[in-house]
């Protein structure tokens, strides 16, 4: 820059000398559309090639004569040209160049121009995310990118399930890789959405291959905001809102409950083998009940959420800084369940020399939360309404004589427990760029991330024991041990760290105005490790000021300590990428990564991953001139990716509790050791290959744009469990024996138009289709793992060839017989209903999902509606299916049940058995939810106002849902073989209403 300035000064001097007489001094100020001065904008007189740059106030002055043209340019803004007239001062406002901003896509280890991109990358602007009043950036991302399926939970501080282009693995890690300013990490829970400049989701092999054996699940690249040149701009945003449960399930009241339970009890007596029971009235519930408790009301409250963000951005031509602080406070709808988060960020870019740049991106998160047990929602569903919260003596109501459900208020209150979780995370990247040549840059980046978690769990065990059952006494607690553990405190500390060192060259040059080459070549190394330490003490005092202090507990050998440190996880990799284009028309790309991973055994550590891609920008052809298309591009790619996040294949010796045994009169433990299995020595990463074809278009003067992609991705060596016949006595082990395929189509369409100065609107639609299937298994001992256990001895899911992952495997209910019992289909027609009569009934993962959004701007008002939909999946009503006996039932279940006088073909008779896992509890998961409605008003401000911008807004989050599911929420994140798609102990979807203010000065 200094050289350039000197050069320009020299030029000016020369020009001056030549045209001294014709020149006059003109001056002016350059501002952005908010009238903020732009510092460092370039002003050039085109005719004379003289120029200057604006100062901190945006002012410039130079010599020009009337009739000459001034060209004013600034990065990120549309270049403006004005003709010099008789005036001597000029006030020039530059418009932000939206199209220009969109043209750069962030990819792995660099950026690429969108126009010549040959891979499938979904881009989401940070502003779109910041509009969502949610804590977790992944939840804000829901519906905003085609091909990205996000199943979110509204629980305070909860993370979402993110599935990019379908699930490709069973045993391996399923989550995408997140890259925050170059730091490769597991999640972005610590990122404040308003700090995000953009999110780029890499979806096809062409973009993912550079992430090698971590690319197979997709990559989400998060770029945080950077400082802009100019005066310090301060932006403040605050919103406040309240939330409650979107859909509630109506439960039976006390009298209905009594009728139902007595019918069920009578039925049990009639069907047991003791004839003397038939006329027994023992155990019948009296009909004159005093209480009628609505348990859900008793454990919930109106949730509150507030959020304040303040950021400052500004800089000179040598230092550009961005700072932000965000504070978010959430009180959950469930009692004693909250989450608070403070985020701090400092992003600074330094120009150290004309060829040497340095930058850092540092984010800190401090969070505290009070965790709560979400099985309380199930207890509230199941607990009998005739049980009081507290009885007439003030003691907690107990149902020990009725059922095995705990009093939900005991669990929800802090009467017998106290919990606190604290998190600290720091994430930072430090980057040096050195321009070796104009076209060649060397980049070295060191990044670190470390997270500390502290978990405190205090339990008043004696208090809880006494409250659970009125007949419990202090002397019956713990079998009348001499020193019972009346209270117990467990404190757990966890730590995870990782570091990275990336060194790479970037080369970018155009030859003969036709051939452009953009290449990256480098080496990266990284390490991560995690550990935990947990300690327990008994008989810590009840005083809540003392009860997180371990030292106040018993100092005897009743404490349990545990801790572990993981194996260091290291990677050493080579990366390379080349993109070539001919006249922005014919595009070719290739990328490569060689990963050496410490996770695998020697000889199987290195893997090569690559992708090839090509594109054709048809609108660059002459024959397309004058066509309706502004841009029309075809592209395709193929590549091979890996997923190294598979279970370790180390054959460990079994020791400890699974090996030791007590001998001798004092039962002293002697160690035991054994090997309980075998392993596959050459187990490595899972290999996924992916084909992608896509078309991008913009037409009708950039008003209508769209992107359509079709893909097939195949995990060719999916890790599955091998369970040898039991006689061998080996534990199941992992082996590469499966093939999992995802095939899909993604469509994203956008229409944007300005009808006039006052009215602008935008319509967006994206939808995705994905078909998932385990296509092949090559080993006869492949374990068809069961899952979806609902804690009553019943399972609901199974993995099998020919089925999608997460499929429900159930008995098929044919109808209801004349006794009012469910009739199951005898699939194998052997006359017996047993395990062999189960069948598959679909997966919890939707086949279609998408988003429709509308944005309107009229004068000072802005209005946005965003809907999210999800079709073609199943959900299991686990809370209803988890029945043992004498739990409450849904009102509709009561009203429509089969009785002797009124047969029903939809609902069985009253019953008190553990029901089989059947299609009776399986429901359609389809839903359409209004995700967000926001109305904003921007206050017109005088030009010279201290405030530069002020906007008030109101947001309704999830105000309406249209769902087929009869439960609380069809959005049920979890593990594919675990709780995903099963409503049991799940947090309901909430609706929220917020008001907010956004101001900048």
């Amino acid at each position: 820059m200094k050289l350039n300035t000197t050069f320009f000064l020299l030029l000016i001097a020369i020009v001056w000398g030549q045209n001294l007489l014709a020149q006059t001094l003109i001056s002016g100020q350059i501002t952005d559309q908010n009238n903020l001065p732009l510092f460092g904008a370039t002003v050039v007189v085109l005719e004379t090639n003289t120029g200057t740059q604006t100062d901190l106030e945006g002012n410039f002055s130079l010599e020009a004569s009337a009739g000459q043209t001034l060209s004013i340019s600034y990065v990120g803004y549309t270049t403006q040209q004005i003709t010099v007239d008789q005036r001597s001062t000029y006030q020039i406002q530059l418009q932000e160049d939206v199209a220009a901003l969109e043209t750069v896509v962030v990819v792995g280890y660099g950026t690429q121009k969108k126009a010549i991109l040959t891979s499938s990358v979904a881009q989401v602007d940070g502003e779109e995310l910041a509009r969502e009043p949610v804590l977790n950036a992944t939840q804000a991302l829901q519906g905003k990118a085609a091909g990205v399926n996000i199943i979110a939970s509204d629980a305070p501080g909860a993370a979402s399930n993110v599935i990019i282009r379908g699930l490709g693995t069973v045993q391996g890690g399923r989550d995408p890789l997140y890259v925050v300013d170059g730091v490769l990490t597991d999640n972005i829970n610590n990122i404040n959405t308003s700090d995000i400049e953009s999110v780029n989701v890499l979806k096809d092999a062409a973009s993912l291959a550079i992430y090698g054996n971590r690319g197979a699940n997709g990559v989400v690249i998060v770029t945080t905001k950077r400082g802009r040149t100019g005066k310090i701009k301060i932006n403040a945003d605050a919103y406040y809102g309240f939330r409650d449960i979107l859909t509630e399930v109506e439960m039976a009241n006390a009298s209905e409950y009594v009728i139902y339970s007595n019918e069920a009890l009578r039925r049990d007596y009639l069907t047991d083998n003791d004839p003397t029971n038939d006329n027994s009235t023992f155990g019948f519930i009296p009909t004159d009940q005093v209480y009628d408790t609505n348990w859900l009301d008793e454990i919930t409250q109106i949730g509150l959420m507030s959020n304040v963000n303040v950021s400052a951005s500004g800089g000179s031509d040598v230092v550009k800084a961005f700072f932000s602080a965000g504070f978010n406070e959430e009180r959950g709808v469930l009692l004693n369940n909250d989450f608070n988060r403070l985020t701090l960020r400092s992003n600074v870019d330094y120009e150290i020399g004309k060829k040497f740049d340095f930058s850092h991106r540092v984010g800190i998160q401090l969070a505290t939360g009070t965790p709560q047990d979400y099985s309380l929602f199930t207890s509230a569903y199941k607990q009998a309404p005739i049980v009081p919260v507290r009885d007439e003596n003030g003691a907690f109501g107990s149902s020990v004589e009725l059922n095995s459900v705990a009093n939900p208020v005991v669990g929800a209150s802090n009467a017998f427990k106290e919990d606190k979780n604290k998190f600290f995370k720091i994430q930072g990247a430090f980057k040096f760029d050195y321009d070796l040549l104009e076209e060649l840059t060397f980049t070295s980046r060191f990044s670190i991330e470390t997270e500390y978690g502290r978990f405190y769990a205090f339990r008043d065990r004696l208090g809880l024991f006494l409250a659970q059952n009125p007949s419990n006494t202090a002397s019956s607690f713990e079998g009348d041990l001499e020193n019972p553990a009346n209270t117990r405190l467990t404190v757990t500390h966890t730590n995870t760290y990782r570091w990275f060192l990336d060194n790479y060259f970037t080369y970018d040059k155009t030859f003969a105005d036709k051939h452009t080459i953009n290449a990256t070549l480098g080496i990266t190394a990284e390490e991560s490790q995690s550990e935990f330490l947990s300690a327990t003490r008994n008989n810590v005092p009840l005083d809540s000021n003392l009860n997180f202090n371990l030292n106040t507990g018993d100092e005897d050998d009743t404490q349990l300590n545990a801790g572990a440190i993981s194996v260091k996880d290291r990677l050493y990799s080579y990366i390379a990428r080349v993109n070539y284009d001919f006249e922005d028309k014919y595009l070719f790309g290739g990328s490569f990564r060689r990963d050496g991973s410490s996770k695998f055994q020697e000889g199987n550590q290195f893997g090569n991953f690559y992708a090839l891609s090509a594109g054709w920008v048809i609108t660059e052809e002459e024959f397309m001139e004058g066509s309706v298309f502004d841009i029309l591009k075809l592209r395709g790619s193929y590549g091979e990716l890996g997923n190294q996040n598979v279970p370790l294949n180390v054959l460990t010796a079994t020791t400890g509790a699974a090996g030791f045994y007590a001998f001798g009169p004092n039962q002293d433990l002697q160690q035991g050791i054994t090997i309980t299995g075998t392993i596959q020595e050459d187990l490595t990463w899972e290999k996924t290959n992916e084909f992608n074809v896509g078309v991008e278009f913009t037409l009708l003067d950039y008003r209508f744009s769209g992107e359509i992609d079709a893909y097939q991705r195949t995990n060719t060596n999916a890790t599955l469990q091998i369970d040898l016949p039991d006689i061998v006595g080996f534990d199941p082990f992992n082996s590469h024996v499966g093939e999992i395929q995802n095939t899909g189509v993604e469509v994203a369409l956008n229409w944007k138009d300005d009808i006039n100065e006052d009215l602008k609107y935008q319509l967006g639609l994206n939808f995705s289709y994905n078909k998932n299937e385990i296509t092949k298994v090559t080993n006869p001992f492949f374990l068809e793992q069961l899952g979806g256990f609902i804690n009553n001895g019943q399972y609901t899911k199974k993995i099998a060839v020919g089925q999608p992952l997460g499929s429900f495997f159930l008995y098929d209910v044919e109808g209801i017989n004349e006794d009012g019992d469910l009739v199951y289909k005898d699939l194998n027609e052997d006359g017996v209903i047993d395990e062999r009569d189960r069948a598959f009934f679909g997966s919890y993962i939707p086949k279609f999902y998408g988003n429709f959004n509308l944005g309107l701007q009229y004068k000072q008002f802005d209005f946005n509606v965003d809907t999210y939909f999800n079709v073609g999946n199943k959900v299991y009503n686990g809370k209803k299916a988890q029945r043992f006996g004498n739990e409450n039932i849904e009102e509709i279940e009561f009203n429509s049940r089969y009785t002797t006088g009124r047969p029903s073909n939809t609902t069985p008779r009253a019953f008190n058995d553990v029901p089989l896992s059947s299609t009776y509890y399986l429901e359609d998961g389809d839903f359409l939810r209004i995700n967000n409605i926001t109305l904003g008003y921007t206050v017109p401000l005088p030009e010279d106002s201290f405030l530069k911008n002020a906007r008030f807004y109101a947001t309704a989050k999830n105000p309406i849902i249209f769902q087929k599911f009869s439960g609380f929420t069809p959005e049920l994140p979890g593990a594919p073989l675990g709780s995903a798609g099963i409503e049991l102990d799940a947090y309901p979807t909430l609706r929220s209403f917020f008001i907010g203010l956004n101001a900048s000065f």
Partner: protein
């Protein structure tokens, strides 16, 4: 300009070098050490630990707890399912009704649990034989392992009939149809006898072990088990000889008070020949939920309430038989340790032999499960004598007198069977005992239990295992 170019090239080279040398040795960088013990840890000095791990398998849920109780006890006429009507205990109601199918979870768990134990035993035997170590200790350890392996196989044969005999599998590649094929009952018994003969030869007497090793398999335990195995094959001479040997060893005697046998203070008592050592205090190493599943349910209770005495069992005790109250917890009873049982508990009684006075509510209570005791030696001895001819009264009356009864008037085999039932109720013996005696159908059908001759003598092979074997494993008849 030329100079500039040179400098640039030099800079380039330096940077490339720095980049490449950052980690000069890639493979060193990614070769990290494991943080757990692997196969290389199994050296000669850990030989006892390999054997301890076999004992540990006796503590496992699948080996000793719910499924084993269901098959050996709930299925018999001694016990009912218990619990409450709506709690089926997965398949315990079906076991109680002998509504038995190859997909019952109990059938699968007993199979898996025992073969897991056999794997640990095989591993110990094979590894220890190859260790260079003190030969006396080496033989004793192998003897213990072979005793335990014999115990596991015997229980498998009792449950399923002939089963595949696995001696040493180290890799998945060794699995073929031959390995998966069931051997005949006779072949299995021969295998079990070889293990026990070796154990008898190499194991010390109970009194020869140092106190710190109390609980390990002894010569007496191996003799008793072999006597029982002989009895199941009606090898009466062998059964008589072995029990005579145990009696003559003077290592064991009856505990004075029958109820005391199952109290904590009498663990490894004078009558104990082999029992599972359970430690309840932390770190716990006890039989997983053994007391919990059989604990009193409901008001004043602490357990799930399964495996409850049948009315038929209760009715079989004579009024002055002390064993009834020692075996059964009745509603409203005050137990020996002062614990009050509410009169309102469901079921007519509970299994007192599974009751733990200490840590009663814990899932792992520290209850030692008595597997072989001296009373059974006397009963086998009496039964052998009743068949071969001889003094039945001496062994039998020791049992009766201890129970507070008068000397036996009936010395028939039938009478010994009845004595055996009452003496050993809830000791995982009744169902197999009836089958062994060849009168299961007759006895059970009379009590309304639908035992089918030619079918229910054995339980079905788990269906899942048959499917996995691709037909090599053949189902028992009529299942």
């Amino acid at each position: 300009m030329k100079k500039n170019n040179l400098t640039t090239k030099l800079q380039l080279a330096i940077f490339a070098l720095i980049a490449l040398l950052t980690f000069s040795c890639t493979t060193d960088f990614i070769n990290v050490d494991a943080n757990q013990e692997t196969e290389s840890a199994l050296t000669a000095d850990r030989a006892p630990e390999l054997v301890n791990a076999i004992y540990n398998s006796l503590l496992q849920w699948e080996m000793s707890s719910f499924a084993w109780t269901g098959i050996t006890s709930i299925a018999s006429d001694d016990a009912d399912k218990g619990s409450i009507p709506s709690d089926t205990g997965a398949d315990k109601g079906q076991l109680d009704q002998l509504d038995i199918t190859p997909t019952l979870i109990s059938v699968a768990e007993v199979w898996r649990g025992h073969y897991n134990g056999i794997q640990r035993a095989n591993q110990a035997i094979n590894r220890i034989s190859q260790f260079d170590m003190d030969p006396v200790l080496q033989q004793r350890l192998i003897g213990e392992a072979r005793f335990l392996r014999a115990l596991f196989y015997f229980r498998l044969v009792q449950t399923y009939g002939g089963v595949p005999l696995i001696e040493n599998v180290t890799s998945a590649d060794q699995i073929d149809a031959d390995l998966l094929t069931r051997k005949s009952k006779a072949e299995c018994y021969a295998f079990i006898e070889a293990d026990l003969d070796f154990a008898i030869e190499n194991l010390p007497l109970k009194s020869e072990y140092p106190p710190s090793e109390l609980g390990r398999a002894t010569q007496g335990a191996a003799q008793t088990l072999l006597a029982k195995v002989s009895m199941y094959q009606e090898k009466w001479t062998e059964a008589l000889q072995l029990t005579n040997d145990v009696i003559a060893s003077q290592e064991y005697q009856l505990t004075d008070n029958y109820e005391d046998i199952w109290k904590e203070s009498f663990e490894n008592g004078p009558e104990s020949i082999f029992e599972i050592q359970s430690r309840g205090v932390m770190p716990a190493a006890g039989v997983d939920k053994y007391s919990t599943i059989q604990g009193v349910r409901g008001e004043s209770g602490w357990g799930w309430g399964f495996n409850t005495p049948s009315q038929d069992l209760i009715d079989t005790y004579t009024a002055d038989d002390e064993r009834m109250d020692a075996t059964i917890i009745f509603p409203g009873e005050t137990l020996f340790d002062g614990r009050q049982i509410s009169p309102n508990v469901p079921n007519i009684g509970y299994n007192q032999k599974a009751y733990s006075s200490i840590l009663t509510e814990a899932e792992i209570t520290g209850k030692n499960v008595r597997l072989l005791r001296y009373a059974e030696v006397l009963l086998i001895n009496a039964e052998a004598r009743s068949i071969l001819g001889g003094d039945v009264a001496t062994p039998l009356n020791q049992i009766r007198l201890r129970a507070g009864l008068t000397p036996a008037t009936d010395l028939s085999t039938q009478a010994i069977w009845e004595e055996r039932r009452l003496e050993m109720a809830f000791e995982h013996d009744r169902y197999f005992d009836l089958v062994r005696q060849g009168r299961a159908a007759q006895v059970l059908n009379a009590k309304g239990i639908p035992f089918v001759q030619g079918k229910h003598e054995v339980f079905p092979i788990p269906q899942e295992q048959i499917d996995l074997s691709d037909g090599a494993l053949v189902q028992n008849p009529n299942y």
